[in-house]
């Protein structure tokens, strides 16, 4: 069975709370709006920063949208407008991600959520016993650096979610072995892979994004497409994100095998880029040899977005 993925969404951290983006165009024409990163409110999260670099930006990850805020304020807003939402979830432990998903799922407006994205590029923390029976959490690099950790995290996420809900795993330029991490993520229950060209820069929590990394994005899509063709990764749709700022970039990723596109820094440059890329893909020919499989028999949520009770 093949999976439905939204064709064009904003990338995590680039849509504000949705309302800001709604000022620039009709969100209802999109297959879904990506909201996030959503997570547990942490202590003093560092401010997100953007530093211009040639053809790019060095981006320090935005603090998460606290899940309670998402449940109380944002999901009702989307639902009232009949918009479909993919929630991008970020957490540094399995517990944090599970807890976030559980709270999302308990929301009365969960029917508006048509997908969940798990950020494997995020930092992971390992809990170790420390003196006096207490535990300490130590940062141990990104989730995507450890395929076993990816598998565990995705399996835990899968367990928290309705069986037919889209679950996608996002990994990218920080990942030492994308094929191994992707295989593990799909093994854990991911039904789509989001491939990000964002590459680590300056410090652990900063990434280079923008048109400068578009070749990295295309490289990842090509690599994963080849791995799928060779049977090394189960056949799931790919979503490309990173430096796809225009029609040409989006179509290049599409013909490399991406069924979906996320627009990130392109939105910051000009919010209407999102709709231009959407239109470009709307009349693009099917992307790959197995594109038809992605479209026929796909588990598309029905119009009400109702996927509970399965």
């Amino acid at each position: 069975m093949s999976t439905w993925v939204p064709r064009v969404t904003p990338a995590a951290g680039c849509a504000g709370s949705g309302r800001e983006l709604a000022r620039f165009g009709d969100l209802a024409v999109l297959d879904a709006v990506l909201l996030g990163p959503v997570g547990l409110p942490g202590g003093a999260a560092p401010r997100s920063t953007l530093a211009p670099s040639p053809s790019g930006l060095v981006h320090r990850q935005a603090p998460v949208l606290p899940v309670d805020h998402v449940v109380d304020d944002l999901l009702p807003w989307f639902r009232a407008r009949g918009l479909r939402v993919v929630c991008a979830v970020r957490g540094s432990t399995v517990g944090a991600v599970s807890d976030t998903l559980q709270r999302l799922r308990r929301s009365l407006d969960f029917a508006t959520v048509v997908g969940v994205e798990i950020d494997l590029a995020a930092g992971r923390e390992e809990t170790r016993p420390a003196i006096g029976g207490l535990t300490s959490a130590d940062p141990v690099g990104s989730w995507s650096a450890d395929p076993q950790a990816c598998l565990k995290l995705l399996a835990a996420a899968r367990e928290r979610l309705p069986r037919d809900l889209l679950l996608q795993a996002k990994l990218g330029g920080e990942c030492p072995q994308p094929v191994a991490a992707a295989r593990a993520a799909v093994g854990g229950g991911a039904r789509a892979l989001v491939l990000s060209g964002a590459v680590p820069a300056l410090t652990a929590d900063q990434f280079l994004v923008g048109p400068a990394v578009a070749p990295v994005t295309l490289g990842l899509v090509t690599t994963l497409r080849a791995a799928i063709a060779a049977g090394r990764v189960p056949d799931v749709p790919l979503v490309a994100v990173g430096g796809l700022h225009d029609r040409a970039g989006a179509l290049a990723a599409h013909s490399a095998g991406a069924a979906g596109i996320q627009v990130g820094s392109g939105i910051l440059s000009d919010p209407e880029t999102l709709w231009r890329v959407h239109d470009a893909l709307a009349d693009a020919p099917p992307p790959t040899r197995d594109a038809t499989a992605h479209r026929t028999g796909a588990t598309t949520p029905d119009e009400a977005g109702d996927h509970d009770g399965h």
């Binding site: 000022r23 620039f24 053809s55």
Partner: protein, 261 residues
């Protein structure tokens, strides 16, 4: 929050002249639905193809003529990549909430930094028209960077020059000696923090900008989150305000300025 459409509109640059260390652009846009206010800004596309982020500029004047359109005055840093007179320029805005004027004539202090001095001067003129007594504080770290002091002096009851380090003392002394009942700040967040603190100490009202138009690393569209500021109060801990959407003009006493000198 409004979900009114915010579209980029094609304008035409009708003048581009030097103004001290800066350039003054006059841009004609299709007539604005609501008059622009001091404290608002516009967003322009990136100057060059290898730049990702758009540019943000304070609006420093506006006038609308029926059947002709609205002319925006923009005083902007001289980056060498500005459109010449006669060229097109797409702009989004004026964006955001501008400064509110007091309902009764009072004494006001307006502090503005560098290029934001032009917006501060415009605010001062508006306040004077409303019957207020206005003292301008022009803050700049290099004497070259005060904007058009001749025009500023014409439009205010007093103009005082200082640098960022001296701004706290200057504003505090001036507010104290003139009995000002409202303090305004336009420019860097650090200046806003300073003025908000002075206002709190004197128990007067402050209206300050929560983001600095022209600073690098801003989108101005409300989408990146780099301009977010924490609020002092709120429904729950960690409530933030996004100045480029909810502001840029904020009440100084509502923001938690910790971390800003």
């Amino acid at each position: 929050m409004s979900t009114t459409q915010l579209r980029r509109r094609e304008g035409e640059v009708v003048a581009n002249r030097p103004l001290g260390a800066y350039r003054q652009l006059s841009v004609v846009l299709p007539a604005l639905g609501v008059p622009a206010r001091p404290g608002q800004f516009v967003v322009a596309p990136p100057a060059r193809a290898d730049q990702v982020l758009p540019r943000t500029w304070w609006v420093s004047g506006e006038h609308t003529e029926a059947g002709f359109g609205s002319t925006l005055e923009l005083v902007v840093p001289d980056t060498g990549v500005l459109p010449a007179a006669g060229e097109g320029l797409a702009l989004t805005g004026p964006v955001g909430r501008g400064f509110g004027l007091p309902t009764t004539p009072v004494t006001a202090v307006v502090a503005a930094h560098g290029v934001a001095g032009a917006a501060g001067r415009w605010l001062g003129e508006r306040l004077r028209t409303a019957g207020c007594t206005v003292h301008l504080v022009s803050v700049a770290d290099d004497p070259e960077q005060h904007v058009d002091l001749v025009r500023a002096r014409r439009g205010a009851d007093g103009v005082h020059l200082t640098d960022l380090r001296g701004s706290e003392d200057t504003v505090a002394a001036l507010a104290g000696s003139t009995g000002a009942s409202v303090l305004y700040a336009v420019g860097p967040v650090d200046l806003s923090a300073t003025v908000a603190r002075v206002a709190a100490a004197l128990a007067v009202v402050s209206q300050v900008t929560g983001l600095e138009a022209g600073a690098s690393g801003l989108c101005g569209y409300g989408l990146c989150g780099t301009c977010d500021l924490p609020l002092v109060t709120g429904r729950r801990r960690g409530t933030r305000v996004r100045p480029c959407v909810d502001g840029p003009v904020l009440r100084g006493d509502l923001v938690d300025w910790a971390g800003h000198p």
